[in-house]
Amino acid sequence: MRELLIGNAAVARGLYEAGCSIVSSYPGTPSTEITEMAAKYDEIYCEWAPNEKVAMEVAFGASVRGKRTCCCMKHVGLNVAADPLFTLSYTGVNGGLVICVADDPGMHSSQNEQDSRHYAKASKIPMLEPSDSAEALMFTKLAFELSEEFDTPVFIKMCTRVAHSQSIVETSERVLPEDKPYEKNPQKYIMVPANAKLRHPFVEERTRKLTEYAETAEINREEYGDSDFGIITTGTCYQYVKEVFGESVSVLKLGMIHPMPVERIKSFADKVKKVYIVEELDGFIETHVKSLGIDCIGKEMFSNIGELSQLAVATAFGLDEPQFASVDTNVPGRPPVMCAGCPHRGMYYTLAKNKITVLGDIGCYTLGSMPPLNALDTTLCMGASVSGLHGYNKAGGKETEGKTVCVIGDSTFMHSGITGLVNISYNASNSTVIILDNSITGMTGHQQNPTTGYNIKGDPAAKIDLETLCKAVGINRVRVVDPYNLAECDAVLKEELSAEEPSVIISRRPCVLLKSVKAKPALTVSKDDCKSCKMCMKLGCPAISMHDGKADIDATLCVGCGVCTQMCKFDAIK
């Protein structure tokens, strides 16, 4: 069937058609939809693992048992899973194992723009990079075959533009591979030094064989045109090159980005007068081509920062600049904001009001760093708020303990906050940890997590009780507050900051965007009672603005959370 699918849905379709039966992932833009779409096929068991390391290890176990299996993550998730990754390269697989990793050049939704291709090289695991949805489907199926043939995990590398662009795919039926029962094989699966020493040469030999494969593989493709220069490219950059040059240009399109062929690149270079490399982020192909002694032009011409595009390619080659109109008026920016009624807001207002230093984390609640709340001081990576707070307080001692907290979401806490809390407890810092529990993984579009009581299919599941968990790791003071109640937030924050031992405050209210949360009637401002003091504006609620000198509430946005009514000394908001 011909269908229009986003790249991530095409990968999911590839998983289905390849007979993959186990998928374990942790969400992260732009990789999330692969697992969400895969979960729609009843034949595939899918789950949200607490983090990427767990997901990859689940995939390892499922592969050892002989099933085709997959784990998906965003680029930074691969850092979390790097430990199993490097040794998984040694053990190899039983059932085919595919790791989907999605990069985010341009940082549409990420904290850095690392280039995952380096991981393929460093861990000696082959990596395929599709350039549209049709290839995403095809490469995913191929990845399973390569995985089993060469006894290796295989990467599918996506990027935002391939992951989130719809293009046409041809779908076919699911074909189940034969079951491969587990056979005990300590030399392959128990990676102690004696065995790992035997596996490492295997890995090197495997890379040699894969390089040989790359010399003839169809996923690497030469297209000769009449121009006298040639372009080596991959993924979405291939599309930009074709958009600019059409059939006229000679292209070597690498579908397999690691390992790369040697002879094929040399012979391509021989046939053209000049070689250009068009790739996003680092000069990964360029380094390889140069290592073969081939003169080529890459990052001298293209930035290693941000995304490329057809315009970037055209401009670099000195083609015509486009013509366009623009307005002279300054167009105000429109940054993302915390939603009206977001439960994070009440706690952030309390922290800002008390001038607290806040070590932050990653999620919707990172938006608390924006004006007017300006409530955050740091954001590094998932989990770093809790461990960072401990370090900050060890360094600051009494001077910082009563004036500093960290904030972390429920999903992020389960991902990697809990180990930091163990450290606070074990190595005794008088730290105050605030868990912003909105009962969902908000930022990435509402995925269930171990604290929500539901699994990926929406079926009831074990619900990790945060209070019990925090107590179990040795925190005696665990408080729960309602972030819609500003007085309560203020009182409990002050109490816990002045306590002489570590504490956890759970700020609990479900995300207003959840279907199960019913909005209350929108609030209105009495123009007569409004004294224009702008106290309500301090909340940074997108539903409240000043019109003709008076506060005004947008009824289409307001969900009646009532936090602003507590800000108004004149009872003007009802």
Partner: protein, 190 residues
Amino acid sequence: MTKSIMIVGVGGQGSLLASTLLGKLLVTEGYDVKVSEVHGMSQRGGSVVTYVRYGDKVYSPIIEKGDADCIISFEKLEAARWVQYLKKDGVIITNTQQIDPMPVVIGATEYPADILTELSQKVKVDALDALSLAQQAGSSRAVNIVLMGRLARQLDIPTEKWEDALRAVVKPQFVDINLKAFELGYNFGL
């Protein structure tokens, strides 16, 4: 020739349904189609953009400055934000609705009051109050379909085809409202 259409607006305004509808329609018409969406961070009330490109063979999924044949904007400030992406003889279809971005809400800057006037001096603008038309059709959420109705005037595809595609993408209970919204957008000003 590849045609390029941009759909821009404020996160949460329903541009995803519009691009799904358009994508489906263009595939049925036999075109090669690419639709580039935005997910994640920017959906939280930020400025969002979707690219739709179609033709015999489409390579790039994104649209660059000076490339778009048509920009459909769900909000007037967004029309101004993306105008550089319009081709010289392209047209902007925009909703006249005003949604204040946070810097305006907190008083750090002002919403440019005459933005539509300035836009109209620079490029071809087709402005309509899509929110009122949507409400007239029965739901303020049908703004996206009102605007698709307007777009239908620009493309060479019979309205019956649009209506079939619409039936295929919206839930049965919302078909009537959306068909009405489509018609109101299509016929506005006639």
